[in-house]
Amino acid sequence: MIDLTLLPDGGMHWLDASGPKGYIVLSTRIRLARNIHGFAFSQRAGDEDRLAVLERVQQAAAGTPIAGGVTFRMDQLERLDRQVLHERHLVSKELAALDGESRPRVGAALVLQGPTGVMVNEEDHLRIQGMWSGCALEEAYAQLEAIDADLGQRLPFAFHPEFGYLTSCPTNAGTGLRASVLIHLPGLVLTKEIRKVLEGLTQVGLTFRGLYGEGSDVVGNFFQLSNQTTLGKSEDELLDHLGKIVRQVIEYEEQSRDVLLRTAAGTVEDKVWRAYGLLKYARSLSFEETMNLLSGVRLGAGLNLIPGLSVYTLNKLLIYTQPAHLAALEGRSLGDPELQLARANYVRRLLATEGG
């Protein structure tokens, strides 16, 4: 089993909720899709080509801000380890090959250095990516841009004068930039304003997804907002637009919370404390129930209803109560009744030491 404790912050510096609006926005994530000229895209490439791509990326990384990063070879890791990395939002489902019985591609890897890294041989040869706490689009892009520029000096990226950076899927062509903000919107859900907001998003060229990105359901009122298009606008335009809309959504969420407190303070407080009580004392918790309870408690923490409980603790619960993390903790794979017991156990212990 891989020892992720060797990584500073376990690769999740963003968990500390130190970023702007950290109690509403969990994280900002950006990725840039790049391919190396002269190699077929990952799916079409043979094993040797993909290994050559990995080698070239590792060599090139030596002179960039991701120098000295740790490399995780997906094709050499057990499924549980790959799943742990996926649950930390460090690798995609595709790179970790978590669908069905598929095996990771030869050469599929993650190079990780602090909050940034590169997924190698995912859908594209390189997915330069990073994750930061709170709403931090500008800072995030500045760091990735520096890595991209350095890597682009050492590797010939596939670039076209009309279509921009060429990607395996045309939905990513152009800038190759996808920026996502993971945001918690219980106020808008409780006041039933969420539908309007989500409809508005799609009209202004943004899209939303669940906790795990593409293809995942919305649980616990966590939404990932991101740009839909990548071509025809500059990187700054794409980021400015997303940032502007996210700030608006945050404002709506804050207004909704004010309305809730003004009109139904007793009910909200009751919901928050019931959720907290269940998390603190339940003996068996499903993943979905945990997410929903965490949503209630997180709302309470944001409204300063639960003294002494930090958002950092809640963020940790979000990650460490996932199936592979619990299995890693117990040192064996867990089936359903056991998994739910282990989850409740973990939540109880963490809240006993870090709870309010």
Binding site: P156, C169, A173, T175, D217, L231, E288
Partner: protein
């Protein structure tokens, strides 16, 4: 589990609604969820490219077009491969399937002209580099001013240099 609404299709979405202090979780199929205004992850996955490729595919199955056999000289992928998988084989596919992709890119992004950062590969000589940068800047301005004739000309010159 069957969809709570139509009781016919498999439920793939859990929709939690809070009404009058009670939480109701509905298990819905994709169609019913969409009717209720929930944009599903699956729907997002399918659109915009998935839907488009499927629509193209439908037509292609009934009536194969000559363009389906179009083959990329570099990696050997065909346009049909792309229509089925939604993924291209290599960078050269973008030129091999140029006109088809241009249409698709316009539908997906509203434009096929990259307006982001200009990239110059590391093995380009300093002189060619300077010229390329200049041409690319001119191209950007030509596109901005909608001078497409000049843009096409500039694009050709850039391609030769690249």
């Amino acid at each position: 589990m069957l969809c709570d609404n139509c009781k016919e299709r498999d439920a793939v979405i859990n929709l939690t609604q809070v009404e009058h202090d009670t939480k109701i979780t509905l298990h819905l199929c994709e169609q019913c969820a969409q009717q209720k205004g929930v944009e599903t992850g699956a729907a997002v996955l399918k659109s915009p490219l998935g839907g488009f490729v499927a629509a193209m595919g439908k037509g292609a199955n009934v009536l194969p077009t000559p363009a389906d056999g179009l083959r990329c000289p570099s990696c050997g992928s065909t346009l049909r491969d792309f229509r089925e998988s939604g993924r291209l084989g290599c960078a050269a596919c973008y030129d091999a399937f140029g006109p088809h992709l241009r249409d698709l890119l316009r539908r997906l992004h509203g434009s096929s002209q990259h307006m982001g950062e200009r990239y110059i590969a590391p093995d380009t000589t300093p002189d060619a580099r300077r010229e390329l940068l200049e041409l690319k800047e001119q191209l950007r301005r030509a596109v901005e001013n909608e001078n497409f004739e000049l843009a096409a000309d500039l694009r050709d010159r850039i391609r030769v240099l690249e």
